[in-house]
Symmetry: C2
Subunit: 188 residues, 2 copies
DNA sequence: GACTTGCTGTACCGATCGGTACAATCTCGG
DNA sequence: CCGAGATTGTACCGATCGGTACAGCAAGTC
């Protein structure tokens, strides 16, 4: 059994890894208990809503992390090229260069999609809006900026899927490089 | 209960839809029984290996479909632009313009990934090889062809994920259009 | 040292999991 | 019409599912 948890702040990341690795359906309370070192009593004390609340809270924390480390910098930056580079760096770091899955994407694909549909949509929409805003500042039209930013999100999710499917993280790195080039290309 | 199945040929597609919609872990025998109209007795008569064999056989049939309708045309074509257009058409048709998930990708993301790792890798590798071969015929270097073909697979998978996450299939259509442009662009 | 209060592990709940056993039924050559 | 073999539904298996109940314990407070 893993070391017991000091406080709730350490709890959510461990929960997140279980959901990432096994999906919502596959993340059993036995696995969660083992990964956190907490018995069911403690888990249901922290999350009276059970597994659904655990996943919702994890999603909320992930959302918060992206808000602080990615969305806000994108919105506030006055240098689009630098903002994109920062985003790519943060994304690469967060996803461990392709070794780590995107929990939001994993949930979107599973049967639990409907349960968390609002949070999932909101996450991607805010990311898309923030990135498109940055691209507009670089002189792109609203349409092109939106298209490129959506393409970037597509590339990130696809790169994670393919890197995992092929068990080859270089796919992720290459995709991030290509994506950066595309985001910063001159308007056609 | 759904109409009973006439023969095994009709069985696999229904099975596939269950795995697509619920993932490997989420596809319970109760759901499978309901979707196929077959009791457990019949199911285990057709698939002595149980759920794992059902998924393996479904993957094999999907692999066969792609081999015939996508990989072979890519390898045999002497007109890369036409071959790419054919592939995009087949992909759009197969995935119902983004409404339908990619079972191979879904499995790659789940906890059952390791069980089917070989089939999953083989599927994507053969697709990648066939597409890269076509691109080479259009005059691209091996390196560029490989990079572009991997990028295409990334885009397809990512577009499916994002379209489902945002519940907006236009994301898929746009991504397919962008991908086609990129595949056929002049060498830089 | 009694008492509350907050965590924690654990025994247990009904439901459901994947899988098995088997008897009933169907199919069809003879 | 019959018997062999294929096919079927269903009862049942042990295990595990998510979730609940509760007794035990640690830490203050007085």
């Amino acid at each position: 059994m893993a070391n017991p948890i000091s406080d709730r702040a350490d709890l959510l990341p461990r929960l997140a890894e279980v959901f990432r690795a096994h999906g919502y359906e596959g993340a059993t309370l036995a696995l969660i208990s083992q990964a956190t070192g907490l018995g069911k009593g403690s888990l249901y004390h922290c999350f009276p809503g059970g597994k659904a609340q655990m996943a919702a809270d994890v999603l909320a924390e992930i959302d918060g992390w992206f808000e602080v480390h990615i969305f806000v910098p994108l919105r506030q930056s006055d240098d689009p090229a630098r903002a994109v580079a920062t985003m790519v760096g943060a994304v690469d770091s967060y996803f461990h260069s392709g070794h780590r899955m995107c929990l939001v994407g994993v949930i979107a694909l599973g049967a639990s999609r409907d349960t968390f549909a609002v949070q999932v949509q909101d996450y991607f929409k805010r990311w898309n809006d923030a990135l498109a805003l940055t691209l507009r500042r670089s002189g792109l039209s609203a349409r092109v900026a939106r298209r490129r930013s959506t393409d970037a999100l597509v590339t990130i999710q696809g790169a994670l899927v393919l890197a995992r499917a092929l068990d080859d993280c270089s796919v992720f790195g290459q995709a991030m490089a290509d994506m950066t080039t595309r985001l910063l290309a001159k308007p056609a």
